[in-house]
Symmetry: C2
């Protein structure tokens, strides 16, 4: 099966963190003017704003809200910490509901020195605790597997198989997976586990960027599609073959890109989306 060529921006979504120097208002105006169809809103972009009004402003600009980023971080050494995380995630679900975001991306969390198995148990427990609120608010939750270089402190879910296992265990139509090519491109079971995920209708999001060689920072040196070594089109083909037809979300953390003129960067994103994703 060949990759379908991109023809327009009708499935393109951009994460507000990608153009981090811009305020939410500035990003909405620029994305909308460029013909971008969707936006994923990072919580820092909502600071000092009423989520309901922000949601209305985004929709009036003609943009679809794809997701609120991000919830999660469930594990903690003490029970009080885990309870606090559950409360925080309930607040995030309410915020997503007010904003009108149909999906929350979960960076599940990990605690340095706590076993990954115990963190995964706490992740399942935390998600289970907030699923009733998510259902009630009609907000879906997407477990995002994170690259193993984040297993110390950001997520104990590091492969597609592990994300599928969490979804199998909790088995809820509200719970699925966010496939991010940056985190998963190396995963030897990726094709098989994407197919397994898709067969259950559980691919809720698809995130794009690229892996630069050499990568100079563990967090903020991600690249624009086509600048790195990730076989993005091949992974897109797997995701689409598994039934996913949602937005393709550009999510790039990059100190060098944030230092650049963001209007120019936006043009480069559009070109890279058509050419290399």
């Amino acid at each position: 099966m060949e990759e379908r060529p991109r023809r327009d921006f009708s499935r393109l979504c951009i994460h507000t963190i990608t153009t981090r120097p811009w305020s939410l208002e500035r990003a909405v105006e620029a994305y909308s003017r460029a013909g971008v169809a969707g936006i994923s809103v990072w919580r820092f972009s909502l600071e000092g704003r009423n989520p309901r009004q922000a949601g209305r402003m985004i929709r009036e600009a003609g943009l679809r809200i794809v997701s609120l980023v991000r919830g999660g971080f469930f594990p903690a050494l003490e029970e009080a910490g885990r309870r606090k995380a559950v409360e925080e995630n309930r607040r995030i679900i309410a915020e997503a509901h007010e904003l009108g975001a149909p999906l929350i991306v979960l960076v599940c969390g990990a605690v340095p020195g706590q076993s990954l198995e115990e963190s995964r148990r706490q992740i399942r427990e935390g998600i289970a605790a907030v699923l009733p609120e998510a259902r009630e608010a009609e907000v879906r939750l997407a477990v995002e597997p994170l690259h193993p270089m984040y297993a110390d402190s950001r997520s104990a879910i590091n492969t597609m198989r592990q994300a599928n296992e969490v979804c199998d265990e909790l088995d809820s139509p509200c719970l699925g997976v966010a496939v991010d090519v940056y985190h998963l491109w190396w995963d030897p079971d990726l094709e098989r586990e994407i197919a397994r995920c898709g067969a259950r209708g559980r691919i809720f999001a698809f995130h794009l960027c690229d892996w630069r060689t050499p990568t100079e920072d563990l967090l903020n040196d991600r690249a624009l599609m086509g600048e790195g070594c990730i076989p993005i089109r091949r992974i897109r083909r797997w995701v689409e073959a598994a039934g996913f037809s949602g937005f393709n979300e550009v999510e790039i953390f990059s100190d060098r890109r944030w230092a650049q003129d963001q209007e120019t960067f936006l043009k480069e994103i559009l070109a890279a989306y058509l050419k290399a994703s």
Copy 2:
């Protein structure tokens, strides 16, 4: 099964890169004086030296040579590049033989933009091409799986399972695996795949260091045992339960440690080895 407490340094080996500012002669003198039993020699430590004489000098100081580090880097876009890599690995095998090192650690290689499957095929082909020379020289080869953050350019072998698959396919008593806790601690199948590896007598080496939070450099911010989040003793228990009884090798790449007084660092290594590994 409980971890056996360390009682002495009879199974401790140090990699010359760990105390990188020291010349080979200085490292041999200091390790020997400290009662360290083994040394793994990095090739840069041999520059400008005759390997045969270097080997004799090390043995006369009472140290066992555990391995020569490192061979590998088999994949290349062009066939000429792959042929060159095979020739280079034959030279390394000859060097190990002259030095008197019974083992070469293989960092298998990867090429940015070439599929990981193709790189793995080229790795198998490259190892197969040099196995006759290794057998002849009585030098064993250890495939070292590298952390997925090195999948772009350093190794397409990123899990214990993948290392086992290479060994299964080539099936030679000269070919095994180097288990490095830094690269593998996050691997969800680690316990099972270590057992599988051990059952075939294929664990040829066991490398120690720790994962710092936050890690500030992808290559040279590794930590001393006990300074990070890796469950080192648990992994040692798995390796020993699988039948491994060889050296435990301290291999730390650390800009901050290399900037320190190396005599003090060596004392800290000895203490950390007893206390946290």
